[in-house]
């Protein structure tokens, strides 16, 4: 019985690379467009998505938006620019500080600091989404998603913010595997080496915030989700019970983020309940 998250290695990488490239190429062409636009943060996930898209569609068909806020780290911007330069893709830098601060100036900073920080983070993510979708129209391009499987399962993302996209090539790939993939894509070492961060405020760290490492969480989620083992089975295989419960709880609690909004059924045929077609139907 295989118990470990399978590695993306030199043997399977070529086929996975081809598969993900085909996915982008084919699904983009079905929308009758040629190009994608994506938010480039300077982190590893959007860098991987960007490399995949550039390979699939050609560098002239990928546009990166770099959308810093005043607290975004300068290193993130540098790393994003390295990706843009290495791939030779077009890019725009759009600072979102003004609109975010203007909104929160009117809202006032009442309420607890933690609450404000989360609201601000969500607002930034949705502001970026809003700009991406505006550019989607402007450039006649689809928005390429950059959320990985780990954060989608844990609900570590903003609904209708960074989780929003038209298509996502890396949403079924765990963070641990994203690092392996990045290694084979020749993504700059600096981007691979730095600790994962949403960079919504200075010094933010995914793993500190979550309270566990991606490596451990991915190992557990691989058993719970991919292998469909019950939590007690994951525990019997050597994982800490409290951590398994915590992760399973996070997955369940964030299910709403992975589904379309609920629709109250009143008719005989209801969208997505018993009106069932592929998105590729058209």
């Amino acid at each position: 019985m295989k118990k470990e998250l399978p590695k993306i290695d030199e043997y399977n990488f070529p086929l996975i690379y081809k598969h993900l490239s085909n996915f982008i190429k084919i699904e983009v062409s079905k929308a009758r467009v040629n190009s994608v636009v994506l938010g480039l943060s300077g982190g590893i996930d959007s860098a991987v998505a960007c490399y995949l898209a550039s390979n699939a569609l050609g560098k002239e068909n990928v546009t990166a938006l770099i959308m810093p806020y005043e607290s975004s780290s300068a290193a993130s911007m540098d790393d994003a620019l390295i990706v843009v330069k290495t791939l030779g893709i077009s890019h725009y830098v759009i600072d979102i500080t003004k609109q975010i601060n203007e909104y929160f100036a009117k809202e006032g900073n009442s309420g607890d600091a933690e609450g404000i920080r989360i609201r601000k983070g969500n607002k930034m993510a949705r502001e970026r989404m809003s700009i991406l979708y505006d550019y989607s129209y402007k450039l006649n391009s689809l928005v390429l998603g950059t959320s990985n499987k780990s954060e989608l399962l844990l609900g570590y993302g903003t609904l209708y913010g960074d989780m929003a996209s038209a298509l996502n090539p890396i949403g079924d790939i765990y963070k641990t595997q994203i690092y392996q993939l990045a290694g084979h894509l020749d993504i700059p070492k600096n981007i691979i080496a730095k600790p994962p961060s949403a960079d919504l405020w200075a010094g933010q760290s995914d793993e500190k915030e979550l309270g566990f490492s991606y490596e451990t969480a991915d190992g557990i989620m691989y058993l719970l989700i991919d292998k469909m083992y019950k939590p007690e089975v994951a525990v019997s295989l050597g994982y800490d019970e409290k951590l398994v419960d915590k992760i399973y709880g996070k997955i369940k609690k964030s299910q709403y983020k992975r589904r379309m909004p609920l629709i109250a059924k009143v008719s005989e045929r209801t969208i997505n309940i018993d009106f069932r077609y592929l998105r590729d139907w058209a």
């Binding site: 399978p6 043997y11 086929l15 598969h19 084919i26 595997q177 592929l278 590729d280 139907w281």
Partner: protein
């Protein structure tokens, strides 16, 4: 019987456009014509090659009663088959006179319909939901094509080893497995997805132990993020892969099946001759009658 006791078969690894019968038929005709130039006598297309796979409610719009005027839409395929003196196996949504729908594959040979296989085992688990829409077929037929006996198993059919057991014991020389198999399962140390590996092991086992040619024709392309793996291939009765198309890419390849080699293998290792059907029958009866462990 054929010259040299052989038959040239073309494996057509296509990327059907979901829901677009007309376009897919055009594509089939083009491929059949190209295969004829290469000398093929039979062209095999994937499961549901004329419609696409994850059809959901559009099954309702795509069903064809192949025995009525509705089959007029297939005229270009009948005509090409007749004009080029060639046989074609392709997948479609079949509708019967009682308005049941089937995941079916026809064989049109030299302009005439000579066989329809209705998929028996309809996967309805994980990402699959075939039983929601289709009625299961009721058997595994063997039919004659210019002296070669052929049986068609569609995808999941082949995962039930009883189906190939039935086919060879009914006399099949070649087992055609047409499929729409999604690529899935990252496997460390392997240059393919897990699902591809499972298929190749299974097909090799069927070919070797049932002493038959196995022709696997799988599709490629994506439907709503699910990618089909391709890797269509042919296994000889020694269980060896003779030809293979690339994973994930459209393509065609022709291969000869050789009945002399089949004859040779079946003589040296007469597993089919020695099969004790009465024993199997007795055992299955006892299983069905719930007389299991005494």
């Amino acid at each position: 019987m054929k010259k040299n006791n052989s038959m040239k078969i073309c494996l057509a690894q296509t990327n059907p456009k979901v829901g677009d019968l007309k376009k897919n038929i055009e594509n089939h005709v083009e491929i059949i014509s190209g295969a004829k130039v290469q000398g093929a006598e039979l062209v095999v297309f994937p499961e549901l090659s004329l419609t696409g796979y994850f059809l959901k409610d559009s099954v309702y719009d795509l069903g064809i009663n192949i025995h009525t005027g509705e089959s007029a839409v297939l005229k270009p395929i009948y005509k090409t088959s007749e004009d080029l003196n060639i046989s074609v196996i392709a997948g479609f949504v079949e509708k019967d006179e009682d308005f049941n729908f089937y995941n079916s594959s026809f064989c049109i040979s030299k302009g005439k319909l000579i066989n329809v296989h209705r998929k028996v085992y309809l996967p309805t688990y994980g990402m699959f939901e075939e039983l929601r829409y289709f009625k299961p077929g009721d058997g595994f037929g063997v039919f004659d094509m210019d002296g070669v006996k052929v049986s068609v198993l569609t995808c999941e059919d082949a995962w039930h080893l009883s189906s190939s057991y039935i086919a060879v014991n009914k006399g099949a020389h070649i087992i055609i497995v047409n499929s729409a198999s999604p690529a899935r399962g990252i496997a460390a140390g392997l240059n393919k997805f897990n699902s591809m590996n499972m298929w190749e092991e299974l097909l090799s086992v069927i070919a070797f132990y049932y002493k038959s040619y196995v022709i696997y024709v799988n599709r490629v392309g994506f439907e709503d993020g699910i990618g089909f793996s391709g890797g269509s291939c042919i296994f000889n009765p020694l269980g060896e892969m003779e030809k293979k198309l690339d994973y994930l890419e459209e393509g065609v390849v022709s291969a000869d099946i050789n009945l002399d080699l089949l004859n040779n293998e079946r003589f040296k290792t007469p597993l089919i001759r020695d099969e004790n059907l009465n024993l199997t029958l007795k055992e299955i009866e006892s299983i069905v009658n719930n007389e299991t462990i005494k």
